[in-house]
């Protein structure tokens, strides 16, 4: 057994009992006819975790056909049956949580505590959807037409759904989309990010153990997501695409989906403003900021990208922030004392460096960090604080996606709202103030889909998650999540 396999109670959960980890289509685990595989790297030390089978486009086509076949039976399951399968899946995830958490840290790099939060959230989504599955209601409209009429609306699953998921939440994105689709009665084809396929494969193995029939959940493992993504978006058997990832790729996928008029959900990049008013306790605001900023190394679509501090508290906040940042321990995620793990790749570090360079060249002050950490062997970057930023700098309009805190000053609420909203995207925004009028005004006026008011949390299974403007459309979790995978059919029944 490899040394990686030895880390787990159940290495077969991730196919680590074999030389190449297989993928799964129609309930069968297989390695590709291509005989090719791709390597999955641990970003903390660049060592190989294992090899995963590299599927051909032909095999992806077959997986879509398998999903179509699986759908024929699955759409006729009752909502109670689907709910029970989801509940069993959540239970199996609980039972195998330690393995799931550990693998998440290995392939993504985030500290165990962050991975634990993610897997807990992941389980939370499945439990939520188990409840949502039995709450899909249609309705009967009062009929204005004629007396002997029922105008019924029923909801039916949209069909085979393609789910394209990112590397930053390799577990939660699977369940937040997959759980909704399965609750709705859809069969799915999931394509996880090339750098983080193991969490997906482990989850799908557990789903199989939970009793989801063959063909209902299929996985595409590939080193060429662009090619396979095109198959998903253009194959007419797929009726719905749900994507989380970059805005640029979202535009491409939406364009590709046009030729078969697919329903599409997009959860794309953000440029979150984090606004602190002078009447809010500074220590608490600093804690909130650090919690969310360094969570998963800042590689999160709802991460604060621009921190706006009222001029009256700018100095004190900065001082307290720097004290806090000093205490953040960078290291391998498997070390329980680590507070900040590596970024996912060298490109992630390059982007950090270029944002910092650009800001400093344009007059920003580097108050902490600023450099790559090269003596640990992985993709580590120092937690960094930049001050005196302005809107000419790249950080003002592009997601950094790393442990960089960019501090801007503001004078009054109108000014900060104008600046906060001066961006094409709109996923999350945060506001801190004890004054109810200020808080409500800013929460309403921020052009985003998610607001954290006096809190850095914007994501729970009970609430609808999604952005506006060029952060995309469609909602996940909450009361609207399952609807995304359904169609409304009007049935106009006349009697006599």
């Amino acid at each position: 057994m490899s040394s990686t396999a030895a880390l787990f109670h159940r290495p077969e959960l991730f196919g680590l009992d074999q030389p190449v980890t297989p993928s799964v289509v129609d309930g069968k685990w297989f390695t590709s006819n291509s005989k090719k595989s791709f390597s999955v790297e641990n970003p903390a030390n660049t060592q190989e975790i294992g090899k995963v089978t590299d599927m051909t486009v032909d095999e992806t086509k077959k997986s879509i056909e398998a999903a179509a076949n699986g759908f024929k039976a699955y759409k006729n399951t009752t909502h109670v049956q689907r709910s029970e399968m989801l509940t069993r899946w959540a239970t199996l995830m609980e039972e195998n949580k330690e393995d799931l958490v550990k693998m998440l840290t290995l392939e993504n790099g985030k500290p165990l505590s962050h991975a634990d939060m993610e897997v807990s959230t992941s389980i939370g989504y499945i439990k939520w959807y188990a409840g949502e599955a039995v709450r899909v209601f249609g309705d009967i409209a009062p009929s204005s037409l004629q007396m002997n009429n029922f105008i019924m609306s029923v909801k039916q699953p949209v069909g085979i759904s393609g789910l394209i998921t990112p590397w930053n939440f390799p577990s939660a994105m699977i369940t937040r989309k997959g759980g909704a689709a399965l609750a709705a009665g859809c069969s799915i084809v999931i394509m996880p990010a090339t750098s983080t396929p193991y969490s997906c494969l482990g989850l799908v193995k557990l789903a199989q153990e939970a009793g989801f029939p063959n063909g209902v959940i299929n996985v595409i493992t590939t080193s060429n997501v662009s090619e396979h993504g095109k198959e998903l978006t253009t194959n007419p058997l797929i009726r719905k695409i749900s994507f989380t990832g970059s805005t640029n790729v979202g535009k491409i996928l939406m364009g590709q989906s046009a030729s078969t008029v697919k329903k599409v959900s997009m959860e794309l990049g953000g440029n979150a403003p984090f606004i602190v008013f002078p009447d809010f306790p500074i220590d608490q605001a600093v804690d909130s900021l650090c919690n969310i900023k360094f969570f998963s190394a800042g590689e999160v679509c709802v991460c604060p990208n621009r921190v706006y501090l009222h001029k009256d508290i700018y100095e004190e906040f900065t001082k307290k922030l720097l004290e806090k940042v000093k205490t953040i321990k960078v290291g391998d995620g498997l070390d329980p004392s680590t507070g900040l793990g590596p970024l996912i790749s060298k490109q992630g570090c390059d982007k950090m460096a270029s944002h910092i360079e650009d800001s400093v060249a344009k007059g920003a002050k580097l108050l902490a960090g600023g450099k790559r950490i090269t003596d640990k062997g992985g993709y580590f970057y120092e937690p960094t604080v930049l001050a005196n930023l302005n809107h000419d700098m790249i950080v003002a309009c592009e997601e950094t996606f790393g442990p960089l805190i960019s501090l801007f000053q503001f004078e009054n609420v109108d000014q900060v709202l104008e600046r906060a909203n001066d961006t094409e995207v709109g996923l999350a925004g945060y506001v801190f103030s004890k004054d109810v009028s200020t808080l409500v005004h800013v929460a309403k006026e921020l052009e985003v889909g998610l607001v954290g008011a006096n809190i850095e949390l914007v994501d729970e299974p009970f609430m609808s998650f999604g952005g506006i403007k060029q952060s995309g459309f469609g909602k996940e979790a909450g009361r609207h999540g399952v609807e995304e995978f359904m169609i409304i059919k009007e049935v106009n029944l006349k009697t006599h």
């Binding site: 009429n149 007419p236 364009g255 809190i455 169609i487």
Partner: protein, 497 residues
Amino acid sequence: MTNPEWITKVKDVELFDLKVQPARSFIGGKWVVASSGQVFDVEDPGRNRVLASVTDMAVEETREAIEIAHTAFQKYRHSSVRERAAILRRWYELILENADDLATMMTLENGKSLADSRGEVVYAANFLDWFAGEALRINGDSHMASVPNNRILTIKQPVGVVGIITPWNFPAAMITRKVGAALAAGCTMVIRPAAETPFSAIALAKLAERAGVPPGVINMVTSNSPAEHGLELTTNPLIRKVSFTGSTNVGKILTKQSSSTLKKLSLELGGNAPFIVFEDADLEKAADALIACKFRGSGQTCVCANRIFVHSNVYTQFVQLVYDRVSKFQLGYGLDEGVTHGPLVSRKAVHKVQEHVDDALNKGATALTGGSVAYEMGPCYFHPTVLVDAKYNMLIAQEETFGPVCALFKFSTEEEVLKHANSTPVGLAGYLFSKDISRVFRVAEALEVGMVGCNTGAVSDVLSPFGGVKESGYGREGSQHGISEYLDIKSMTISID
């Protein structure tokens, strides 16, 4: 053109902005002509003549309208819902007060019978009344949170400036169904009506103005170049949402164009409606329903029965009932007394219908009646046609005819007819006739469409969600879902620690 004969049929010429030609566009609360001075003619398909000219706006002028709508949005988004409801309700009343003129002009520019036009005007008005009520019901939610000191609230806010692209077949209702929802939601908009039927749009804009819609909230741009203006609406970043009703092909193009700015979209595209008559159907009622469903607007509606499947045991009987009814049609000029069916909208439309009929006849169908252009009335008149022995290899089985042609197919089993009914990439409406309750539910659930009529040929009610599945598009209009299309949901987590 001084005092053309048709203008005497209209009481209020100003309603169509025809005191002077060309009729104008409505932008920023003003009636404006294109700075180029260009105009395009609007034809009366029933009399093969030009009705009047309308200003032909350039793409730059659509761009300006979008900017004006964007500015107006900054204020309108904060308007009180009661104000919006009051405007919608006044607009609804004004439409009913002017129903005669609206119906007359609709028949003149579209060709449909006056009875059909009158029906549409009321249907169109009803959407505004409906959304006046919906404006007051934009409810958010409060949710439990997992942490005791957190509160989760979701609110709904207008998406922004909306691009609305509407077709010629329901020149009033397609506008009010979208505009009513958008206005109720707090959005501003730029409307591009079909060039064949701009006068209904012009009149609606006039009445909106009279109803007190604030300047810049509703902008209506007339032009004869749909592709160019469509491209502006789908690519201008100030527009956050596009709502389109029209052909599937154009829908795909607009979607692709919208991807570069990730616009929200509603698409209501073509259909290929199956109309299934089972052995146990009430045949007389089914025949009545078919007549209404197939021949409304001379077959030029997206929910028209396109393929009529009749069980072999009742085929001959049913065909006779249909033939008897079709024989009583009065094809003629829409404004004339007693006319039941008018001309098609254009010569191009007629050409497509003839193509379908010829193809069907070549492949073995028989025309019991009709099958050709009624040239003696004019080039846009097509004889209502009944085709028997229709087969699946005919164009009429695969494409919307959009004309007064009733093609009847035979079937023997429920399984067989469902397979054929569903073997099409589109799915807008479907109809079934049977007295058996199990069959009714089974077939309704199995049909891959967005709307099913069971023992009725009507699926359009303001209260019921209108829209398709598969390549007929997505989004729902009317009903309690219609306004959601124009709203963003914002989830707020508040800590009261």
